[in-house]
């Protein structure tokens, strides 16, 4: 009446065969075909190699009637299959990530107002969607830095501008009073410098995240999988193999998910009202501003390009002789507006990744714990 062992094995093989086509599909993404096929081949070779070693051990065990070797072989052969199944599941999920479209994900998990950065990229997959978010994040942090640099330049020019008032008998000699009408703005200069430091940290954080994703996408860590299969079967190394799988899962599955999660949150962080919550001053436009906008929802950012006379552009800071004579100075962007936009950008570029890190670390800890090893991700984070 029971379900015989041959039937069970046949069912397992059928399951593996059913998973195979989608794995081939996976070779379209992270995963360019060459890299991914190599990984599959390496995994298979690692499994076959490990099975061969176990078979040799089993043979010796039988030959010498060594119970320890026999027990080890029986245990490890099961673990190799376990590793293979884990690898198949991981690749299956990655394959799904290569197939899901961001507009489909948005319609299921994200609100009715999806992030504006995906408005024209609805057909992109999960990995590309994460990449689009980080490109926009880099753009907006860079725009913010340029806006602050413009203000710094404007303050520098204004604070050094001095007028000489000839209010005595100037035709005989040069006698009069002098005054630097904007020299008091050196206070704003110092404060804007401080804001620039904050903006630089945000920019570096965005660039760091972008390149981390690029490394992940280019498959730097993909060899962890075949290595994990071999290592999990080596004596005393199962925990380390489990840790490798946990790190791989966190990077290839959780990291893109958290980036898309960040994109959704950033789109509404500036508020969901109709009036823009922050203003960014930059000419000729504000690349990356869509990061804080939603399709049919939040207005997010108001991009200011000019004050009417001067464009908010570093290249426009050089003054003509006429402008110097009339004392027509470039206007810096309003300080409190720049502080507001810098605070928001800092939160998105630095605070959200910290939350991501908490979640990813918790995930890695959970997986590695299940596979037999506790990965101390917090220490890894401190090293980073």
């Amino acid at each position: 009446m029971g379900f015989g062992i041959p039937n069970r094995i046949a069912l397992l093989l059928l399951t593996l065969l059913a998973a195979a086509p989608s794995l081939l599909n996976a070779s379209g993404m992270v995963c360019n075909p060459a890299t991914f096929n190599d990984t599959l081949s390496f995994s298979a070779m690692a499994a076959i190699g490990t099975i061969a070693i176990i078979a040799v051990c089993y043979m010796f065990g039988e030959f010498f009637q060594n119970a320890r070797m026999l027990t080890w072989s029986k245990t490890e052969i099961l673990q190799v299959f376990m590793s293979l199944i884990i690898v198949l599941v991981i690749l299956q999920i990655m394959s799904s990530f290569c197939s899901f479209r961001i507009d489909e994900i948005s319609s299921i998990f994200i609100s009715s107002h999806p992030p504006a950065i995906y408005a024209n990229f609805g057909s992109e997959t999960m990995y590309d969607a994460a990449s689009i978010y980080l490109e926009n994040l880099m753009a907006i942090t860079s725009t913010n830095m340029q806006s602050l640099r413009y203000s710094l330049g404007a303050y520098e020019i204004r604070t050094t501008y001095t007028t000489y008032n000839c209010n005595m008998a100037c035709f005989l000699s040069l006698v009069g009073s002098n005054e630097a009408p904007h020299s008091g703005e050196s206070m704003q200069l110092a404060l804007t410098n401080n804001l620039l430091s904050t903006a630089t940290i945000a920019y570096l954080s965005a660039v760091f995240q972008y390149f981390t994703l690029q490394y992940i996408q280019s498959g730097v860590f993909i060899l962890f999988l075949p290595i994990a299969i071999v290592i999990r079967s080596a004596p005393f190394m199962r925990q380390f193999g489990g840790a490798l799988i946990a790190i791989f899962l966190s990077l290839y599955i959780m990291y893109p998910i958290m980036m898309i999660f960040n994109a959704s949150i950033a789109s509404g962080m500036a508020g969901t009202g109709t009036s823009p919550a922050i203003k960014i001053y930059h000419y000729p436009g504000c690349p990356g501003e869509n990061l804080f906008k939603q399709v049919g929802g939040s207005a997010g950012v108001d991009c200011k390009t000019t004050d009417g006379t001067y464009n908010y552009d570093e290249e426009d800071l050089s003054l003509s002789f006429g402008q110097l004579l009339t004392g027509s100075m470039p206007d810096p962007a309003p300080f409190t507006e720049q502080a507001r936009s810098s605070a928001l950008i800092f939160l998105v570029a630095v605070f959200l990744p910290a939350v991501d890190f908490l979640v990813i670390a918790a995930m890695a800890r959970g997986i590695s714990h299940m596979l037999g090893e506790e990965v101390d991700i917090s220490r890894l984070g401190q090293m980073v």
């Binding site: 379900f3 009073s177 904007h182 020299s183 969901t272 919550a277 605070f351 890190f357 959970g366 917090s378």
Partner: protein, 356 residues
Amino acid sequence: MIAEKTGATRFMLFASLIAALFLLSGCTAMGVGQGAPFFDYTYLMYPLLAGILILALAFMFSKIFNLQHWTAIISDELVQVLATGLVALCLFGMQVGVDGYLVNAFTAATPTGTVPACAGHIGCANDIAYAQLSTTGVETLLNDLHDAGSLIGTEASKGIYCSMLGVGFTLTNCSQLNAFRGSLTSSSFATMAGVLDIYAQQFLLTLAKNFSFTLIIPLGLFFRCFKLSRQAGGALIAIGFGLYTAYPLAIIAGSSLLTGYATPIMTEPAPLAPNALKLTDHCDPYEMHSDVSRKQFDDYASQLTDPNIALSTTYLVICKVILMSILALIITLGFIRMLAHLLGSEIDVSSLARIS
């Protein structure tokens, strides 16, 4: 027979508990604030259904391959899925309690004692905390400091010059006023930190209001349904719920603690009068009598060191803004850590320190 009865009784108990939670949460009576997020039950259903579906598949496999030990694991997991549903209902009930009752209690302790218009609506705690942060006046103080710094800089730059045939001198007669610019700049740095603090808190409140119950917690519930991602789910739920409830409450309560009681613990210093830091008269670079410049210098020095000015600015920037924001964040992070622990996740303290 006994076992069947026990199972049925347990099921009835569970169903009654859920029904009681629904009723106690008052969800049917709770209105939704204008533009406030709404907790959609589909956010709860999707993750639970997905979890149950996967467990059903696993159960089927365990039967086909005769994996007896899987059955026990699947039973445990099913309990975890149901527990996740229970957690979601509890969170929803707590959200209603915070927005409906606790906020009223805190705001009733304010000097005016008026109940806010949003009372009883979802997102009310968040709105009140946001409004309180908007009215601290620290932005006005920063602008005052900028105005004072600009004016004193202009005055301090004034001088006279005289040259004949390329030979002569320049005398910056008002430069003694530069002595005040350093301390004004230091004050500006502290005030700017306060302004950035306020903005950051407001953006965090916006994040919590718009996404806690529509994205962060549902995603956490989804993750919590599976053993592999249970810890990550717990962390997300704790972060979302902590930011939505504990954070605005800590801000409101902190404000009430400072000055909110009918008999205040301390009297809040009067805010700085407009132009209180500005020079009262202009410096004349042609003035030859040092007594005049000295008098102006002394007058401005006494104005700046006036205890009322020092007290009011220090209280506002250091105590009301920076200290209270740190306190609110510490309370929130502590709450998040404990809630995560309760939900089966461990949030690393050093990572929390990185956030703060």
